[in-house]
């Protein structure tokens, strides 16, 4: 779980927020698939749609990706773009 208040879960981001991926939790198979879609540590993720429940849509490396809430709960991010 996040250790300090700068670390959040992707699922906590609101629509329109920008975030940077820090790390992954959860199974290797899913993380591997996410990595090939552009979800790597350091990558910027924009929250395109998050209604607080159900799946959400993010934009990563120019691609719109739908994620289940469970998957978004496993991506640790920090708010804002770091580049």
């Amino acid at each position: 779980m996040p250790e300090n208040n700068r670390q959040l879960l992707l699922s906590d981001m609101n629509t329109g927020d920008h975030a940077t991926i820090l790390a992954f939790q959860g199974g290797r198979a899913v993380v591997n698939r996410l990595a090939s879609l552009g979800f790597t540590p350091g990558a910027q993720v924009d929250m395109s749609q998050n209604y607080g429940r159900g799946p959400l849509i993010v934009t990563v490396r120019g691609m719109r990706v739908a994620l289940g809430r469970g998957e978004a709960d496993n991506i640790v991010v920090s708010r804002g773009a770091h580049d």
Binding site: N32, R33, L37, T40, V65, A66, G68
Partner: protein, 680 residues
């Protein structure tokens, strides 16, 4: 999943005439890059759809004219990467390594270079001659993205050809470059991505350990990289090949770096970042694109569902408004006069010849073929929805509902396809990564009302319900979906114990549909239907006629009547007479047979069409019950065969028969008595 009731795959059957010395060209690309558009553009109707040997993944192969000579073209399955995450990815890389295509064309999108170059980064490690087709230049221009193809070519080290496949722009140049590459013997110098700096020493360490033990088609560097990535297939292969002490050493290194795949992926994205900085000018950032704007509605948790229902409703309305009158016109203007003319022409022929041709052939197959306009409208509408990019939104908004069954949104994609035909729906479940989720989707897919069932509804509903037929049809669809969700939830509880799998799905950009892609889809699906009419339905129509004629030429004492009468006690629960029972049973080979069979059975009613004969014979309650049972009845023969093939088990195929059988009899009986009770 483009083919309705496809013939069993016989790869290479049609291509046997092609010279096997012809250059072999492979098309590689991620999903939604326009790879299929390019494949269709090059091969047109010279293509063959089958399966990859031993896999349930579609294989498309064809041939085309490469500036005067014939070349073979293999469409590799769409894959985001070449790591063994999915069968598609394994097939693509094994084909390139083992079949050694003369040229690999990598299709990428100018509108989304960063993500589409990821596959190129993987292809670069395979030592295959590479040409990059920089597709969707038009879409990129609309979004204000300018890609400098020459700069891209310089930094990649392989030819880059800008093109817009949907408008056939840039293809001649692509062919010239491919032709040049075939003629040249100079090796390419592809610029290779590197692993992120913190893991380079580890990779070198692995390389030095395994270098002496790598088998023939595999490049040593590639094997080491895949080991570092933790690729399941390559790891398994090397474990069996390496001497024990070497494997132990490699395994030790890999265990200490089990998150190395992130370093490999990051390295590729760093490489991509450098290339993009040199080749892309002025990418607009933060601009709200058209896709984002549409998705605010289409992917909204509430409005999205209304939009989905609206789209489905529109498709069904189109069918009733345009398809049904066309179907009636064909029946009245073509089939009926044809039957009359044939009856006259055959007056001298033996009675059984006349009966077989007039009642069996024209009455049976002819009636079914009049449904072609209805099916073409369906196929065109769904191909359009598919090609525009809407399907992923349908899956997204359905995710919550799919959770009721322990599934996620992706399972809705094949189910959506099932409205066209259940066979491609079962095959379409291949997009679902986890096996339990896939099996569950396979088992509930037959509850999606396919066009064949809707054709029966489209014929019978207006006869009994007139202008309210549309509402009855909607109710029947809703009922089917209720049965789907109900049995899905039940199966999930009982068999799968509430397991759930990861939902990760690309939402492609909306784009202008391509007439060629849609036309080809409609053509392939319609052709498959006509073939079915010429085989399964023809055979069944003739069989029904023969059984209705034997043993003594009288329908009421025929074998068919006896069989139907034997089943009548069961039918009476649902308000059916023996003829409806026979119609139901003959719908097993193909759902539309129900109408064809009734056509044969009522063929003797003088001076009246089938519609009039039906409304004179059956009550509205019986008709409603028959419609309900038709919707929920056992899947057609082809669907059961595909279920057996995809699930690789007779047990599951049997479950897929028994569940709907039980449910349809139950629902039919309840609806019939309910309808009688309210006085229909």
């Amino acid at each position: 999943m483009t083919d309705c009731h496809p013939a069993p795959a016989r790869a290479g059957e049609r291509l046997a005439v092609i010279d096997h010395d012809a250059p072999l060209i492979a098309l590689a690309g991620q999903p939604n890059m326009g790879k299929s558009t390019l494949f269709n553009l090059l091969t047109g109707l010279n293509q063959h759809v089958g399966n990859w040997p031993g896999k349930t993944v579609e294989r498309r192969e064809g041939h085309f004219d490469l500036n005067g000579r014939t070349a073979r073209l293999v469409d590799l399955p769409g894959a985001y990467s070449l790591t063994a995450n999915s069968p598609e990815e394994v097939i693509a890389r094994e084909f390139i390594l083992r079949d050694k295509p003369t040229v690999v064309i990598a299709v990428i999108s100018a509108a989304n270079l960063e993500r589409s170059l990821y596959l190129v980064a993987e292809l670069a490690a395979l030592d295959a001659p590479l040409v990059v087709a920089l597709n969707m230049v038009d879409v990129a221009a609309q979004e204000g993205i300018q890609v400098d193809a020459a700069a891209l070519e310089a930094s990649l080290g392989v030819p880059v050809i800008p093109m817009t496949a949907s408008k056939a722009l840039g293809v001649p140049r692509l062919l010239d470059v491919v032709e040049n590459l075939l003629a040249s013997s100079e090796p390419q110098h592809i610029n290779q991505p590197e692993v992120r700096s913190d893991h380079r020493a580890v990779l070198e360490n692995i390389e030095s350990l395994v270098a002496a033990h790598i088998p023939a088609p595999y490049p040593p560097g590639w094997i080491s990289l895949k080991l570092l990535e933790g690729d399941a297939e390559v790891t398994q292969m090397m474990r069996t090949l390496l001497p024990v002490q070497v494997w132990d050493a490699v395994h030790e290194v890999l265990r200490a770096h089990d998150d190395a795949f992130l370093a490999v992926a990051s390295g590729r994205y760093e490489w991509i970042g450098r290339i993009i900085r040199s080749a892309v000018s002025h990418p607009k950032v933060g601009q709200v694109g058209i896709t984002e704007r549409i998705d605010r509605w289409a992917a909204h948790p509430v409005w999205g569902l209304f939009i989905l229902a609206g789209i489905l409703g529109l498709v069904f309305w189109l069918t009733f408004a345009i398809g049904s009158p066309l179907q009636e016109w064909l029946e009245a203007q073509i089939i009926a006069p044809l039957a009359g003319w044939a009856a006259q022409a055959l007056t001298g022929a033996p009675f059984w010849v006349q009966g077989m041709i007039v009642d069996g052939l024209i009455g049976g197959v002819g009636s079914v073929l009049t449904f072609l306009p209805i099916l073409i409208i369906f196929f065109a509408a769904f191909a359009l929805i598919e090609d525009v990019g809407y399907m992923a939104r349908a899956a997204y908004v359905m995710d919550n509902l799919m959770h009721l069954m322990g599934l996620h949104g992706k399972s809705f994609l094949p189910l959506f396809l099932g409205f066209g035909c259940n066979v491609p729906a079962i095959m379409g479940t291949r997009v679902i990564e986890s096996w339990p989720a896939r099996l569950l989707t396979i088992l509930i897919a037959p509850f999606v009302p396919c066009t064949a069932r809707m054709a029966v509804v489209a014929f019978i509903a207006p006869v009994f319900f007139g202008s309210r037929a549309v509402w009855v049809s909607w109710g029947l669809i809703l009922l089917s979906l209720l049965a789907l969700v109900g049995s899905g939830a039940l199966l999930n509880r009982v068999i799968f114990k509430g397991q759930r799998s990861a939902f990760v799905m690309e939402m492609p950009l909306y784009h202008v549909p391509n007439a060629r892609t849609i036309g080809l889809l409609v053509w392939q699906r319609s052709l498959a239907f006509v073939k079915k009419a010429g085989t399964a339905i023809l055979g069944m129509s003739l069989l029904v006629w023969v059984l209705s004629y034997l043993p003594n030429g009288d329908l009421n004492t025929s074998f068919l009547a006896k069989f139907g009468q034997w089943l009548e006690p069961l039918g009476q629960w649902m308000g059916f007479d023996w003829r409806l029972m026979v119609a139901l049973i003959t719908s097993f080979p193909a759902k539309e047979n129900a109408i064809a069979t009734l056509g044969v059975l009522f063929g003797n009613s003088p001076g009246a069409g089938l519609a009039d004969a039906l409304s004179a014979t059956f009550s509205t309650a019986t008709a409603l019950s028959f419609l309900v049972v038709t919707m929920l009845f056992i899947p057609c023969m082809a669907t059961v065969a595909v279920i057996k093939q995809e699930a690789n088990s007779w047990r599951w195929a049997l479950v897929s028969l028994l569940l709907p059988l039980l449910l349809s009899v139950l629902a039919g009986t309840s609806v019939y008595h309910l309808a009688l009770w309210i006085g229909l």
